[in-house]
Structure formats: C-alpha cells, structure tokens
C-alpha cells in the first residue's frame, strides 16, 4: 500500500518482542457493564466472553446501542467493568486502580476515534509529539506521520486538514506509541468511501505487516471481510465469534 512503503528498523525490533503470534492477548470472562438509571439497572454489556489473539485484525460488528462501544471502552481501559474479568497478557484489568489503568492505556493502547479527536490548538506534528509526554520510546513524530503519508501536512492545524488527513494524523498518533493494541472506533464513520478505504488499508497494514493487534468497532458489516476475526454484538451480548481464514484486502471491499 502506498502508506506503508517502508518498515522501520525500530518497528522490527518491536515485532520481535511480539513474536508470540497466535498467542492470546485479551480474554473476557463473564464481563458485565451495568448502568443505573433511576431505580432501574441497565446492562450495556452482559456476560461477555471472548478472546483476541496477538496481531489479529478484529472487527466488532453490531447496530447502534448493541454494546460495541462499551466493549471497546473496556478493552482500552477507558472504563471499568461492573463484574467479570478482563485479562490482558495475563494481567486482570478489572483489579486495576485508576492509576494502573492510566498506565495501561499509556503503555499498551492506541486509540483512533470516529471524529479523530485531535487537539485543535496543536499541529499534526504536535499532536503526534504529544505522545512523548506519556511514554518513553515512542516513534519519531516525523516518521509516524510519513508512514501515513502526511509528510507535507506536518505543521498544519487540524482545522486546515481534510477529514481523511485528520484521521491519518489520528492513526499516526495512535501508532507512534507502538502500542500492542490499536483500538478504532468507527474510524471511517466520518469519511467518504475512497478515503475510508485508504484508512482501512492503513489499519490492516498495521496488523499484517507490523503485527499489531487491531480492534475495530463498526456498524458496517462490509468490514467483516477484511478481519481475521469478526465478533458480532447484539443487545449487550456476544452473538457470535467467527474466524475468517482468508480475509480480503481493504482495497477489495466497497460499501
């Protein structure tokens, strides 16, 4: 793909660290997320069980309100479960304190948001460089931005960039940390088809070439084709987990 011409040496080193391909990275057991509305309890997620393997490309599919965002939030340590256990690389996240969760997010998770969530008062370069404040050994922001094809937009503010460019900045920011887990919340939701496909290709590349675990949440079932594993969510529960032996290239799908 045009955005992944070169694989950086330091990234290769990272890959060696992650050379446990096929091993379990994440496991959910009987996870519930409960909200209280007045005197009634409401389950956003109920008794969810699933496993995600290292360097897989996972797509979580489901309609609005099915619980997929909750799943993503729990995966990313952005929220805590009401009950059950979530293991990440053998560690139980549900026992973590706020500070431990923060550290978990900083060390292991990169997030790509539907609306990019760039800091509007910082340039593309600065948004990526922000990661240096929270983790040692992050990639050079310049390289991270080059790897998503934004060499020429380095010093533009988000408001001066197109949606696709902003989303690519957001991906550069997420991968600059060299996270083991890359979480994407409807990453193409605000983009047109062509740009969206480019973004998808970029994410697929992260999993295939750079051996990162990519988890993408979407309501768009066409994306199931590019995933190694498809998890369908419905009414706060896991409906099915399907493994895809021959995922398509992102360039092959359309919606």
């Amino acid at each position: 793909m045009i955005f992944s011409k070169k694989i950086k040496k330091e990234n290769e080193l990272q890959i060696e660290d992650l050379e446990r391909e096929g091993g379990t990275l994440i496991e959910f057991r009987d996870v519930c997320k409960k909200y209280s509305r007045g005197d009634r309890d409401f389950y956003a997620l109920k008794d969810a069980n699933l496993t995600i393997n290292e360097s897989e490309m996972v797509v979580i599919l489901g309609p609005s309100g099915a619980g997929k965002s909750t799943l993503l939030n729990l995966l990313g340590g952005m929220d805590s479960a009401s009950s059950g256990h979530i293991w990440f690389d053998g560690e139980d996240l549900t026992t973590y304190s706020d500070n431990q969760l923060t550290k978990y997010r900083a060390e292991n998770v990169g997030v790509v948001f539907q609306f990019y969530n760039l800091i509007p008062t910082l340039t593309a370069y600065e948004n990526v460089a922000l990661m240096k404040d929270i983790k040692d050994g992050t990639s050079d922001p310049r390289e991270a931005l080059s790897s998503v094809g934004l060499e020429d937009h380095m010093h533009q503010f988000p408001s001066q960039m197109s949606g696709g460019e902003q989303q690519r900045t957001s991906i550069a920011r997420a991968v600059a940390k060299n996270p083991r887990l890359l979480l994407c919340d409807e990453p193409t939701g605000a983009l047109d088809t062509v740009t969206g496909r480019e973004v998808l290709a970029l994410l697929q590349n992260m999993s295939r070439e750079k051996k990162r675990t990519v988890v993408m949440v979407t309501h768009n079932s066409f994306f199931a084709d590019i995933a190694d594993t498809v998890i369908r969510v419905k009414n706060g529960g896991i409906e099915s987990v399907v493994h895809n032996d021959s995922p398509k290239d992102a360039s092959e799908i359309s919606w």
Binding site: M78, N99, R105, L130, I134
Partner: protein
C-alpha cells in the same frame, strides 16, 4: 506539547484571560503599592525617630527648673531628660507666619536634623529654622529673621536649616487640620536668645527612656512614676501615642495600609470570580479534548496540572506584574504628596515580606480556584468524558410554576430562565456592577463629605466672617473694647486633658461669651442650644473616653493644676475640634478667669489692626475655607484612585461576562434567528437581562458605597469626626456612570447578534 496547547488556548480565549490578568494586576498593584508606600513611610519615620532620638515621654507643666530635670532623671528607666521652653509667635516678614519656637540649652533628645549650616550649639547665638519654611520663603543661611513672641521681639541669624523628629506634623491654630508649612514655621534657639531672661520659665521636659523600656506597659508605668516623682497637679505626662505629630503620622500610615487591603480584596475577589467562570467554561468546552487526553493515557494529575496552570500562569503574571508596577509607581506618587503634609526625610517605598507573601497567596488562591472549577470534568473515566455531558437537570422554579408566569412575555420568561440557570455568571455580573457603583459613590461621596465638612465648619458651626486672634498680651479690657467696637463675640480656646480609667486624651475647650457666632449640633446634626448650666462634650471624644450624657468627666486645663469633675450636660458633634464647649458663666462658676483668645465678628477688620501688639493675627474665614480645601490633595488622590478603579472594574468585569454569555448563547441566539426573530428584537432581549442585573447591582452598590464611605469617614482620624454625605449629584453621576458603562459594554456584544451566521452556529459542536 501541552504547554504549547496552553499558550494557544490562552490566545484563543484572550479577552477573558486578559481581564483576569488585569484584575489580578490591579489588585496586587493597589495592595502592594499602598503597602510598600505605608511600610516605606513607616520605616523612614522609624529610622528618622531612632537616629534623631525622638523622646518617649513629654512632661508639660507651668514651670520646670534644673531640679525638676534631676528629679525626672532619677526615675528608674529614664535615660536622659532635657528641658525646653516651647512657645508660639509670628514672623511678620513671611506673611505673618505662625511660628513654633523652642528655646533649649542642650539637644541630645529630639536632635535636629541638619540640612545646611552648623549643628545646634547652646553657646552659639542664632536660629535653626525648618527646611520647608526656609525653602518656600526663600530664607538663606546668614539671613536675619525677626520673630514676635507676644510683646517681645527676637532677631536671630539663621545658623542652620533643619528638620526635627518631634515636628513631623504640626498645624497652626488657623489651619486647624491641614498643615501649611510655608505659613507655619518652626524655629529652635538656644536659651540665651530668650529676650526676657529673668522671667524665663521652661514649660516642657522631654524624656528619653532606656531602650529596654520602650514597650507600652513600661511606658505607662514610667509615666505614672514620673507623675509620682513630681507630685504636682500642674503637669501632664504624655507619650508618643498622645503626641499630635507622632500619632497623626502613625494613623495616616495605618489608614493607607487598610485602604490597600480593602481595594485589593475587591479586585482580587473579582479576579477570582473571573477565573471560576472562565476556567469552568474553558474546561466544559474542552470536555472532548480532556476525554481524548485521558484515553490516550495521560494521567489525571497531568491533565489537572495542565488546566490548573492556565489559572496559575495568568494570575502569576498578573500578580507579579501588578506587585512590581505597584511598588514602582504608587510609593513615589503618594509619598510625593506626603511631602507637603509630613516633614519626614528619605521617604521611599519599601517592599515587605507581607507583599511577597500576599502575592504568593493570591497566586495560590487563584490556582486553587482554577483547580476547583475544572475538577468537574476530570473525575469521570475517559469513556464518560468522551461523550457529551448529560443534560443539566432543569427544575422549574416556583415562579415558573405559578400562574403569574403565563402573564409574562417571551423575553421576560427567557431572561428569567437564563438568569436562574446561570446563577454564577449572573452573580458575577451583579458583583461587577456593585463594585463599580460602590467605588463611584464612595469616591464622589468623599468629595461631598469634605465639602460638607468645610461648609459645616465655616458656615454652620462658626458663622463669623473674621476671627481676630489675640496675643497673650491682650488684657480682658482690650478684648472687651475690641468686641464692642466690632460687635464681636469673645471666645477662649484652650487645651484640656481628660482622664478616665480607660483613657487619657488631650482635647480642646471652647468657652464662649455672649454673641451668636458659635453654634452646636447634636449627634444627629440638628442645631441645638448650648446648655447654659453645664458643659457639652463632643460625641467623638465621649466615644473615645467611653462616656455618655449625664456621666461625670474628669478634666483639667493644661497648665493648671486643678482637676475638675463635671457632669456632662450635653453631647454635641463637631467635625474637627474634639473637646468641650461651655458658656463663660459656667466656666466662671468653676472659679476660672475668662481670658478671651479671639474675637469673632462679621464686620470687616482694617488690615493695620494686626500691627497692634495685642493682636496676633486676623483670619478671613473665606481664605481659610479655600486653603483648607486646597490642602486636601491626599483625599483627592483617593477619589481619583476610586473613580478610575470603578470604571476599570465595571468595564473589565462586564466585558468578560459579555464574552462569556455571548459565547454560551450563540446557539440559542442563532436558533432564535432561524425562527425568524429580528436582530433588533434579539438585542432587546439580551439588553433586558443586562438592565435587570445592572439595576440590582446598582441597588446593592449604593448601599455598600455608603457603608464604605461611612467606614472611611469614621476611621479617618482621632480628631476628625466626619459624617458621610452623599449629594444628589453624586447619586446621579454614580448611577448614570454605572449604567453607561454597563449598557455600553453590553451594546458591544449585542451588536454582534447581526453577525452571527445561523448556519455556522447550528453546525456541529466542535
């Protein structure tokens, strides 16, 4: 990177941050300025007193010999004693200047500070003359000055130009309350210069106390011991706090530092309100960004520090700049004005640890406040913060549920809801208006009160056009004839001392003969007739002594050894002279002889009357009024500070508020526009709320302005009993001024209604 983000956010919200900056700057400017000024003034006089050895105790009496000096010197704790003859006289050549004259035969206590010439020496014949008086009357070393003391005349060659630590402040009888050192001189001469040597009687002992005995308790004990040592009734023993020069300066310095605190509190409170509202708005508008930062793995502490640093950086910049500017500008300005009122060398501002502490505390409080106001967005997990905030729970107020609500038109309903749901913002607006109106009322009220005081002194309480002051040569017969000739009223003005268990105070006594030029007013300022049978005591003095009508007061004339124990027949109020007033008959019933000191008359007095030996000076009341008003420069400076502060405060607070509410209302206003409301109609809706808040603010402002004026008037000094006066013009100007500021600022924002782009404003949140 977060630092860069902060700088850019600050720039983006610059109006609000500038106003916070300005408020913290103003607060610290006034506080540090006045504190550095008053500390500097205090420190300068402190070192002046110690370097030139200001005495700790004065003993006044009708005659002291060398034996008395020895007696006083023997009191344990006393280090040194000197005797003096302290008199007043005139200097014809310099516009009949009123002179304080001291004859002395040594000068180790209250040493003269020499500017030019030779040091004082009791064996050198000559005069040592006060510096300001020399400078403004063009007196040089070697000039001869002729001084008239009653019927005696002294010619002396000026040997030195000096200042004296016991004459930091003095007023002639003519000036009453404000000094005029050009027309009021001070001269020191060796005893050998006194013309009538055989009849020379020293009337003052100055006592220097051992350095370890200068605290209040020891001084009080020493005063009692000295009184016992002499065991005579004709002496008055006083300390520094009872000394006019020392006490006036001391009170002035204290008053300035109190003013500084008062102003600082007003400005800093506004700055804090600004920080609260601004930071709450900034963090609310950056909710998604905060969520993103959390999701990316920034710790709560890092994000908190980031947002708290906004308030910190701005208030630190403002406070430090304010403190520095205040220190650099206020002391020179105010101390410059001091020069005409107080004769203290080397007056300059001094930065104290309090200034630094206050700056740090102000910054700390601002930082804390910004922490508290952004904490709300930080407590939830990132998943929650990333989502838009849950809608505010809106409860209907009682008014909205009442029947009355339905009778109100839309704009009233809209504004009532808006005010009730943005209480903090509305409160801040009201506070700004209150501050503005309060300072205007208080500032102009000060002017009114001073004018009222002058009019009362010379027009209500004393109604004569001329005051002929007699010298001590004047016999009763002379005075009587003069009074007959000019159809005048004879009065005696003299000093008295009051004693209660609580306090010992010096004051004055006015004894009046028949005539109609002296009037008194009761506590509530209603004219009353002076009691024919007893004495009347001023309200302020009664308060200081803890006495009221019907009580007995113990007093004696200064220089007379007989104590009187008299029932207070009446309490009256006088703005500038505290003490007692009585009819001549009452005075004579106590076996005193009535010795008129001046004659009040409405008839014009020939200018050559002054040449007579029995007349010391003739005062034109109109001149006194004018010169009195001119010398109140200090008070005027306060008025300027208050008026400037008022306008700045009003503009800054209301502008800040305007930006804030405008930004918050953009979507609502855009919606109204889309619905078809005309811009002018929307403007009226917005202006309506502003007018409500302004009216409420002005109401409170008038009240608190009066309170502030009352505090200033009643605490201004021990001898002044000022009553707060606020004229109709002041009310009008203050209300109109506040209204103008408020409406003008609001107009600027409501003008923007036209420019709101409906489509743009209704698009996405970010």
């Amino acid at each position: 990177m977060l630092f860069r983000k902060m700088l850019r956010d600050l720039r983006k919200n610059k109006t609000q941050f500038i106003s916070i900056f300005l408020m913290s700057l103003l607060g610290m400017l006034v506080f540090v300025g006045l504190d550095a000024e008053s500390s500097g003034a205090g420190a300068a006089v402190e070192s002046y007193y110690s370097k030139y050895n200001l005495c700790d105790i004065w003993v006044a009496g009708s005659g002291f010999s060398n034996d008395d000096v020895i007696t006083a010197n023997k009191v344990p704790g006393v280090k040194n004693v000197e005797k003096r003859l302290s008199l007043t006289g005139t200097c014809e050549k310099y516009d009949n200047a009123y002179m304080y004259i001291n004859f002395m035969d040594s000068n180790d206590i209250n040493s003269l500070m020499l500017y030019e010439g030779e040091p004082f020496d009791e064996n050198t014949e000559g005069a040592w003359v006060q510096e300001w008086f020399c400078r403004h009357n063009n007196i040089k070393l070697g000039d001869t000055i002729r001084i008239k003391i009653d019927s005696m005349t002294v010619d002396a060659i000026v040997k030195g130009i000096i200042d004296a630590p016991d004459y930091v402040y003095y007023v002639s009888e003519a000036d009453v309350m404000y000094p005029n050192y050009t027309k009021n001189g001070l001269v020191f001469m060796p005893s050998s210069m006194y013309p009538d040597k055989s009849n020379m009687i020293y009337n003052q002992l100055i006592v220097d106390v051992r350095d370890d005995m200068t605290d209040k308790d020891n001084i009080d004990r020493l005063k009692q011991k000295i009184e016992k040592a002499f065991d005579r009734d004709d002496i008055a023993v006083t300390d520094r706090d009872q000394n006019l020069s020392f006490a006036t300066y001391d009170a002035e310095v204290r008053q300035h530092s109190a003013m500084g605190i008062m102003f600082a509190v007003v400005f800093l409170a506004i700055a804090l309100l600004g920080i609260v509202t601004t930071m709450a708005r900034v963090t609310a508008s950056q909710r998604t960004q905060i969520g993103t930062l959390k999701a990316l793995g920034f710790s709560k502490a890092t994000i908190t520090i980031h947002y708290v640093s906004y308030g910190f950086v701005i208030s630190a910049l403002g406070c430090i700049a304010g403190a520095w500017i205040g220190y650099a500008t206020m002391p020179p300005w105010i101390l410059g004005m001091f020069q005409g009122s107080y004769l203290v060398p080397d007056l300059k501002g001094k930065l104290t640890t309090l200034d630094i502490e206050a700056t740090i505390i102000a910054i700390a409080v601002a930082t804390l406040v910004s922490f508290l106001s952004c904490r709300k967005e930080l407590k939830d997990p990132p998943a929650v913060t990333l989502k838009p905030p849950a809608p505010k729970k809106i409860r209907h107020s009682a008014l909205e549920k009442s029947r009355l609500w339905l009778l109100l038109d839309f704009s009233t309903q809209w504004n009532i809801r808006d005010v009730l749901r943005n209480k903090l913002r509305s409160l801040m607006g009201i506070m700004g208006v209150v501050g503005c109106a309060m300072l205007l009322i208080c500032g102009f009220g000060c002017m009114d009160s001073i004018n009222g005081l002058i009019d009362k002194m010379y027009g209500e309480l004393m109604t004569a056009k001329n005051k002929i002051m007699l010298s001590s040569d004047a016999s009763y017969g002379y005075a009587y004839d003069l009074a007959e000739k000019y159809k005048g009223q004879m009065i005696e003005e003299t000093s008295v001392e009051f004693v209660t268990e609580k306090a010992r105070k010096s004051g004055s006594a006015t004894i009046i003969d028949k005539g109609n030029y002296i009037h008194i007013q009761d506590k509530d300022l209603n004219p009353v007739k002076l009691n024919r049978e007893g004495i009347a005591l001023t309200n302020k003095m009664a308060g200081l002594l803890g006495l009221s009508e019907g009580d007995f007061v113990k007093w004696h004339l200064v220089g007379d050894d007989e104590w009187q124990y008299t029932r207070i027949a009446q309490i009256y109020r006088d703005p500038s002279i505290q003490g007692i007033t009585m009819y001549r008959s009452v005075f004579e019933d106590m076996d005193y002889t009535f010795r008129p000191t001046s004659i009040l008359t409405n008839k014009s007095v020939p200018s050559d009357l002054i040449d007579e030996d029995e007349v010391s000076t003739v005062l034109n009341i109109q001149d006194m009024k004018t010169s009195f008003a001119e010398t109140l420069e200090m008070m005027n400076a306060m008025v300027y500070i208050m008026v400037i502060a008022a306008v700045l405060l009003g503009v800054v607070v209301l502008y800040n508020l305007g930006v804030l509410s405008f930004v918050e209302k953009v979507r609502e206003v855009a919606t109204l526009k889309v619905l078809g409301f005309k811009s002018s109609k929307i403007r009226n809706i917005l202006q309506k709320q502003n007018i409500w808040l302004t009216v409420i603010g002005i109401g409170f402002g008038l009240y608190s302005g009066w309170g502030m004026l009352y505090v200033i008037c009643t605490t201004v000094s021990d001898t002044l009993d000022m009553f707060p006066i606020i004229s109709a013009a002041t009310y009008l100007i203050s209300i109109a001024g506040t209204f103008a500021v408020s409406v003008a600022v609001n107009f600027m924002f409501s003008g923007k209604v036209k420019t709101i782009d409906m489509v743009d404003a209704l698009k996405g949140v970010e």
